[in-house]
Amino acid sequence: MGKTILVVDDSASVRQVVSIALKGAGYDVLVGTDGKDALAKLDGRRVHLIISDVNMPNMDGIQFVTEAKKLAAYKFTPIIMLTTESQEDKKRQAQAAGAKAWVTKPFQPEQMLAAVSKLIAP
């Protein structure tokens, strides 16, 4: 069984492309449309890595990371934030919340895969 990655982004195309890239690399993928949805999707499930956008409706990425880190099951789960060049401060906030890794938008699927494989094996 492959490792499971949760992808959280409010843009359908980002979710789709990232999912395809990750599935192609042999990972199982769960998707969430925003922080709230993602928390519901986690639901104690075994997830090896979380990829989350920052700006999302309902619950933004920073809040989502903060909440997820509070849950024992995801205390040590590596988290990649999707940031943009102009969001250095958001990135810092995310790091403070426990999301130490990031990929800067716009990114190519290869960049995403590289970041993922720095953190976990397929």
Partner: protein, 705 residues
Amino acid sequence: MSFSDDAAEALDIFITEARELLEALEEGLLSLESDPSDTETVNAVFRSAHTLKGSAGLFGLNHLVSFTHVVETLLGHVREGEVRATPELISALLPCADHIAQVVAGVADGRLSASAAEEAAGAALLDRLAPFLPGAFHAAAAPVLPEAVVDARGWRLQLRFGPDCLRNGMDPMSFLRYLGTLGTVDRVHVDDSALPEGADMDPETSYLAFEVDLLTDAPKPEVESVFEFVRDESDIRITPLAASSYVDYIEAMPQRDRIGDVLLESGAVTPSEIDQALRIQRERSLTVPIGQVLIEEGLADPAVVEAALTRQRKVADSRSADTQTIRIDASRLDRLIDLVGELVIAQASTTMAGDGLEAQSEVTRLIDEVRHSALSLRMVPIGMTLRRFERVVRDVCVDLGKEVQLTITGGDAEMDKALVERISDPLLHLVRNSLDHGIEPPAERVRCGKPAQGSLRLNAYHDAGNIVIEVADDGRGLDRDKILAKAVDRGLISGSASLSDAEIYDLIFEPGFSTADAVSNLSGRGVGMDVVRRNVAALRGSIEVESVRGHGAVIRIRLPLTLAIIDGFLVGVGPSSFIVPLDRVTECVELPPGPRGRDCMNLRGEVLPFIRLRQLFGIPGESARRQNVVVVEQSGQRTGLVVDALLGEFQTVIKPLGPLFSNLKCVSGSTILGNGDVALILDVGPLVSEHTDHERARQAPIPVG
């Protein structure tokens, strides 16, 4: 990536998204033409271009990225106020939007890179934009990292990971494994000298350090980037294995830092000063902000850096604030809710058909879910409406010379958008009323031993399928005797009537009632509490007052969550059907046989007046042999409705009555049953009070004069 079927599907999504973004872009540009100073539109236009570029990058559509990048940069300058959105600029930008649309159409046709014609057209358009761009700008210069040529055999890495790296989900082994993808890991030495003895060791802490020799052609930045996620907390040194000529590539790789950009653009520092600061920052520690480095090295004035930081924060704040909401075309939602209404009717017809119970229950469950999710689309938090009263309270307090602290709780309770809009006026009236009549002037409050500052509390919460909104103050409370006297004076009640407190308080909602001796221009705007109650009732809600003399009053509005569908109770009278809103129904009993005289019966020792619907609506024919009574409750008063048949609960889709029937009391709407028949929805409030008045008139002696 290759464009497999899945990817093609993703590309479809992108194209749809891109078209929407382009529409928004064009619309925004056009409205900017008429109002160039509208910052919200400028933001929206910029974001459209920015998002478009971001998504295009994801698909490797570099021609789209590089073109859109220039447009985005220019719009960025407009947003920062450095370039004015003149009609000339708009006329130069609009064809760019058209060009992007064309390229997107090309992508939709399967062309994933620019054709020669597109390239030429794009270059011509960018040339037209060039005069608007401040400073030297290289067309099509999307941020590209400089290519570095390296002449080293490889690198020696000394890695001491931060003690918390495991806790952060960062596994050192994983990075070492990834390092292997850059070249050959020639030698790994593990330094476990920091590892404590047995009991002192914390398994969650990282103690190990590594020395790795990596044979590779990869330049230093690339090797360094392997550890970018842990660089902040770890000590990482990368030195060339071969001590040959080696360039510090960091110098060649300017960090894209907003602060730096801001300072650069404002002319406060030069690019070389920024590079110098970045180098120093890198040598020391990345956790030191670049601004601090600039100040410490005497490269920039602290005040300038502070200003730049503030601006950066402001930009980020505004961006996060306006992405929080989703705008949905209300008419589309209305349509969806209409459709769901039809679905519910279709489901009702299968229930009536009788067979295939299991299939039916599934359909019922599904439809229930669809109903909930569809309605939730129109649910909005009430907080926005409540927070608007902050301003009202402040203004009114200034007018009246009162001090009032407004507290809002439960602002995230959600309700139907249509309801939120229509409840705002009645609420405004209640708030003004509390401020005007409820809360005393500071001097009087102090005399009564209360704090000079009054308190007004708006609270919203969900309760059994309803939303409750409370307006509570800690003022005088209602004056029972004064209300009573006034009601007698106005002829609303007879002097001898004995009423409970609740009944007395309820009188303030009667038409023509006002306790204020002098009508101030605040509450006395020609609308009394009766109008508030009428408005609330029109939303199928109820209102009640609770008050303790001298300690304040709470006015509680109870509303259904939505207007579109209610849970009803279906009853039959002869050939006609009626719906009684289920939340009004308390119980059903059989009508005891007896003489047809007075319309009341004994319900567990209490007198229950009832209304014969057959008589009320003039339905011809004989009543059934066994009749039933549906007991409904309205403002604490119970009344029976005599019907022939109890047909059970029924999810009722409300169809409003035509304008011809707008004056009809007792009936609030209609619905269509599964068999196509129309049933009227009874409006219990007016039905009961109408009847009670009628009864009272019949029983009481008619006053002379």
